[in-house]
Every structure is written in C-alpha cells, then in structure tokens.
C-alpha cells in the first residue's frame, strides 16, 4: 500500500494553465472548486432562508384557514395597483440583475455597473412604495396594537352609486381577527423588506467593487452568488403578493 502523502499537483497542472486569479483562495485546489463551493454555499444559505420564511407562511396558512372572512376583508385593504407596481418593479430588478451577471461574464465593466445601479434603483423604488403603503396603514389605524381600529370592518363605507357597503360587514369578533392578518402582513413584508435592505447595501458595496474592475477579469462569483440571493428575495415577494393582496379577488367584485 502506498504511503499516504503523495504529491498530486502534476496530474492536473497541464490541462489547467494556472490562471491564478488574485482571488483564488489558497485552501482550494482549483478555482473551479472554489466557484462550485461558493455557489453550493449560497444555495444552502437560500435553503435556510426558505425555512426562515417558512415559519411565517405556515402561520399565515393556518390563520387564513381559521379566519377566512377577516382575512378577505383585511386583504381588500391592501392596494392592488401598488402591489402590482411593486411586483413589476421587483421582476425588473431581477432582470437587471441577470443582465448584470451576463455583463460580468462577458467582462463589460461599464454595463455591469449600469445594471447593478439599475437593480439598486428598482429595489429603492420598491421600498419607497412599501413606505407609502405602511404609512397609509398607520394613518388608517390598521397597525396592530392598542390603537387598532376595527370600525371600517364592522361598518364598511357605502358605495355611493349602489348605496350598499363596499365590503361584507364583519361581526365584531371576526373583525378583531383582522389584527392577525395585519400582524402577519407586517411581519412577512417587513422581513422581506429587511432582506431587500440588506441586499441593497450589498449592491452598493458590489457596485463600488465592480467600478474598480474586480468582477470583469474572470472572477464573477460574488455577482453570480449575489444574483442568486436577489432572485430569492424576488421569489419570496412573488409568493407574498398573491397570498396577501389577492385573497378572494374575483373579476368584477
């Protein structure tokens, strides 16, 4: 049997002309190994994020099942136009991010920086819209807590044309359950917004480094892996939007 410690460099030194990128970490044998490890790590991290949001989704599904009328009424308080705008903005930001990854791979520094900036701007627009939505909730006393106001659910305003209430009025005990909806709304969109803020900060840092040319010399891993993260945040919103905004919205209702 062989002695365990044997040199192995020679076997692959020929096929792989050692383009030793400065970012090549010494503990990886090859840059390929480093790249694969990085991507694998990011996917694993996203798996943990799925479990993280999963707890909230589970709570949401449970309570939506129990208190369906309250959830319907509360969901109707959310602005579909604003939600749709945000969805479009976020999908566009994902598109820009994907373009950014392409730009890094084809080593076009200017384009990469442009796309990163566009991604950041889209993210900021999203957060701006969310700020307005939250502010509206604050003004209408729909933030759970002592100042929560159920009157709009018990006595919905009347449609001026038909004279009928625009919403099915809820009995007082069911109206109280709208607080649970809003608690989950703020927890889920708030957690999502927090992830977006972290993403935007990281985008700022990556843009600076991209400007210095760090990602257009063959080393694209940070852009790729950040892209994965950004797309994940996007996908979470794609789930949140229908679950929170679109309960029971039939055409013509």
């Amino acid at each position: 049997m062989d002695n365990a410690i044997v040199a192995t460099h020679d076997t692959h030194a020929e096929e792989h002309h050692h383009v030793s990128l400065p970012q090549h970490r010494h503990h990886f044998e090859t840059a390929e190994q480093q790249r694969e490890a990085g991507t694998f790590g990011m996917w694993l991290f996203l798996l943990t994020e799925i479990m993280f949001f999963g707890g909230l989704f589970f709570a949401y599904l449970l309570y939506r099942n129990w208190y369906n009328p309250a959830f319907v009424a509360a969901s109707n308080q959310l602005s579909i136009p604003l939600g749709t705008v945000n969805t479009a903005v976020l999908i566009s930001s994902g598109f820009f991010m994907a373009l950014g990854v392409w730009a890094a791979e084809v080593r076009k520094k200017g384009l990469l920086v442009l796309f990163l900036i566009l991604t950041t701007l889209s993210g900021l627009v999203f957060l701006g819209v969310k700020y307005f939505e939250y502010k509206e909730k604050w003004e209408k006393h729909h933030i759970p807590g002592a100042s929560f106001d159920v009157s709009e659910f018990v006595n919905p305003p009347l449609n001026p044309k038909t004279g009928k209430p625009i919403e099915e009025p809820l009995s007082p005990d069911m109206a109280q359950k709208t607080q649970i909806f809003f608690s989950l709304y703020f927890a889920m969109t708030g957690m999502h917004a927090l992830h977006m803020i972290i993403g935007i900060v990281l985008l700022g840092w990556l843009t600076m480094r991209a400007q210095r040319g760090e990602f257009t010399e063959g080393y694209v891993a940070p852009i790729e892996n950040f892209g994965l993260y950004w797309h994940f945040v996007d996908i979470v919103w794609i789930f949140l939007f229908p679950l929170l905004y679109l309960i029971n919205r039939h055409p013509g209702s």
């Binding site: 009328p69 009995s171 005990d173 109280q176």
Partner: protein
C-alpha cells in the same frame, strides 16, 4: 397484569413507604404503574445486556489478553437482530402506551363534572352545586370525576401524581381530564407548567371522601347559588334572554336541550354541542352560526370572566324549557325579587 396480587401490593406499598413511589389512588394508577414496570424492565434488561457486552468484551479482549485485534467488517445478521428486536420492543411500548392514553383520555358517560380555572397562581374549582374552592378539590371516591379546565392567563398544567393524571390548562379553550379516586385521603395537586414567579406555590390538595362524606360536604359548603343558578342570573343580566327567548320568532336559536345535541351550522357542517362549543359560541359567535339565523350576535369577549362563562355554560347545559327564560325577560335588571311589573313585551332589555 398477571403478577400475583400479593407480590404487587408488597412491591408498591413497600416502595411507597420508602418515599420512592407514589400511592396508587385512582383506578387508572395500576395501569400506569404496570406500563412503568414494563418499561423499567426493558431498561434494566437493555442496560444489563449492553453492560454485559461491554464489560465482557473489555475483560476478554483487553490488550494484555488479546494483543492483536482481528478486523471485522460487520454482520448483517447482527445488524438485523439489533434493529428488529428494539423496534419490536419499542412498538409494544407504543401500543401499550396508546391504549393507556385512550383509557385516560375518554371519560365515562356518567362522570361528575367539576370546573377548574387556573390563574397565576391559584386553582379555583367550581362544583356544579355552586361550591367554590381555592387550591382544593373535594371529590367522592368510587365515582368518575371529569375536570373541565381553563386558564385565565398563561399555560398551567393540572397534575395529581397519585392519580397518575395530568393535563395542560390552556388560555382560550377548555381541556379535560378524568379520574376515579379509589381511596379516601388527601393527595397533592401540582401546577406542572412553568407559569411565572409563584409557579411552585400553585399547589393544592385533592380530598377524596367516601360518597356519604362527600354528600355531607356538598351540603355544608354550598355558597347559596349553584353554577347554573348563577348562570341564569347572568343570562338575564347580560341580555341573552332577549334573543334566545325560546319564542318561535326569536332572533336567536332556542337553547333548551341544545347541549349534547348535534347542531346544524350555517356553513352546512354539523357540530356536537359540548362545553367548549358553548363557550366559544359566546365569545366568537360569527364562527358558530346556527343554520337559519342571521349573524347578529355580539361578542362577549372581554365582558365575561371565565367563571362567568362557566356559569353560563352550566346554565345552558341544564336548560330544559324556556319557561324561566321568558319569566326573567322583564325582571332581568335586578336579582332581587321584582315588584309587580307584569311580563309583557320582550326587547325591553338592553343587550
């Protein structure tokens, strides 16, 4: 249990006398103890087996005695053996435990029902005849007793170790446990779910009396009104009788004999009306809409204490006719005997 009763008694009593084993004071206790001894047996045998193997191998194959090890890959037969046998034993424990669980969980039909309200940091028990106790529970021996319990604040847990029963006491819904005490005496009640500062002070005593003594006790300690009578008062003063008057055109369903019946709800489902349903219907009426009625019942969340709810539930349980309900429609403002206002139009009462 097919062990000699003499041996069994000896074992249990001796252990109990040495403060190493609790008393067996309920009908279920011997069943629990039987499972316990079985589990102990498995543990001792398992430990002895592992110990014998380890000790035996240590002696036989110690370096001085066996200087050269023989490399062994494994043995599928052995793997199968020590997979299947433990699995079989554990499954026996599962089945036995499940059977015992269902025995403990399902009260007999003729149980005496006592309400227990737990709050930080005391137990309040309420007998149907209106006897109230704090941190104490008097029960008759030889008769199944069901405890219907709820918490006013946080999770508690009601435990009587000598009866081998325990159940969580939860805020917001009833939980039940039952037992049949066998021997007169006093036994510990513990709160076993950590509930704050005086968790270890939330203890009490179950006093088991012979049926005669129990009757004497209930006669002596009644505070005047039974739970149902209190409930009747509340039913009127809270204005329930306005809608639930029992008239054909009443706005609320007739509550006479509703307890124990299968009620058809507005969403098409059928539900068995028990204590939990009644309590929930008072607090969350919109989710408990009887078929054929409009969802106009206000919620009483925050307006009635758990004791009040218990009183109302007991009242509705006892309601056979609506005679007194209609009687009290005009006398509901006070609990003194009314002067001579005749009973006339319903709806006079404030909701």
């Amino acid at each position: 249990m097919h062990i000699s009763p003499v041996l069994w008694q000896f074992l249990v009593k001796w252990l109990n006398a040495s403060a190493l084993f609790p008393r067996e004071a309920s009908t279920i206790a011997p069943y629990t103890d039987a499972l316990y001894f079985f589990l102990l047996l498995i543990t001792v045998v398992g430990l002895a087996l592992v110990g014998a193997l380890v000790f035996g191998f240590s002696v036989r194959y110690r370096k001085e005695r066996n200087p050269v090890a023989t490399q062994v890959e494994g043995s599928t037969l052995l793997e199968a053996t020590w997979t299947i046998i433990p699995l079989a034993l554990f499954l026996i424990c599962f089945v036995w435990g499940a059977l015992l669980y269902f025995r403990i969980y399902n009260p007999p039909a003729n149980s005496l029902n006592i309400y227990v309200v737990g709050k930080q940091w005391m137990w309040k028990s309420e007998h149907p005849g209106g006897q109230h106790e704090i941190n104490n529970l008097h029960v008759p021996s030889g008769r199944p007793v069901q405890l219907t319990m709820i918490s006013q604040d946080v999770f508690h847990s009601f435990s009587i170790p000598d009866f081998r029963v325990k159940r969580e006491v939860i805020p917001g819904r009833y939980s039940t446990v039952w037992f049949e005490a066998t021997t007169p005496g006093t036994y510990h009640i513990f709160c076993t779910q950590y509930c704050g500062t005086k968790h270890s002070g939330m203890i009490g005593e179950v006093t088991v009396l012979t049926p005669d003594d129990y009757k004497k006790w209930t006669d002596e300690s009644t505070s005047g009104m039974s739970l149902a009578q209190n409930g009747e008062r509340l039913f009127a003063s809270m204005g329930c009788n306005a809608c639930h008057s029992g008239n054909a055109a009443a706005r609320g369903p007739n509550l006479a004999n509703v307890y124990g019946s299968k009620l058809k709800l507005a969403n098409g489902s059928e539900v068995l009306v028990n204590e939990a349903y009644l309590r929930d219907a008072i607090l969350n009426p919109s989710q408990h809409l009887t078929a054929g009625y409009a969802p106009i019942m206000p919620t009483y969340q925050g307006q009635i204490s758990e004791e009040g709810l218990i009183d109302l539930v007991e009242f509705i349980k006892s309601l056979k006719t609506n005679y007194r309900v209609q009687q009290t429609l005009t006398t509901s403002e006070s609990n003194q005997t009314t002067p001579d206002t005749p009973a006339d139009t319903p709806g006079v009462v404030k909701p």
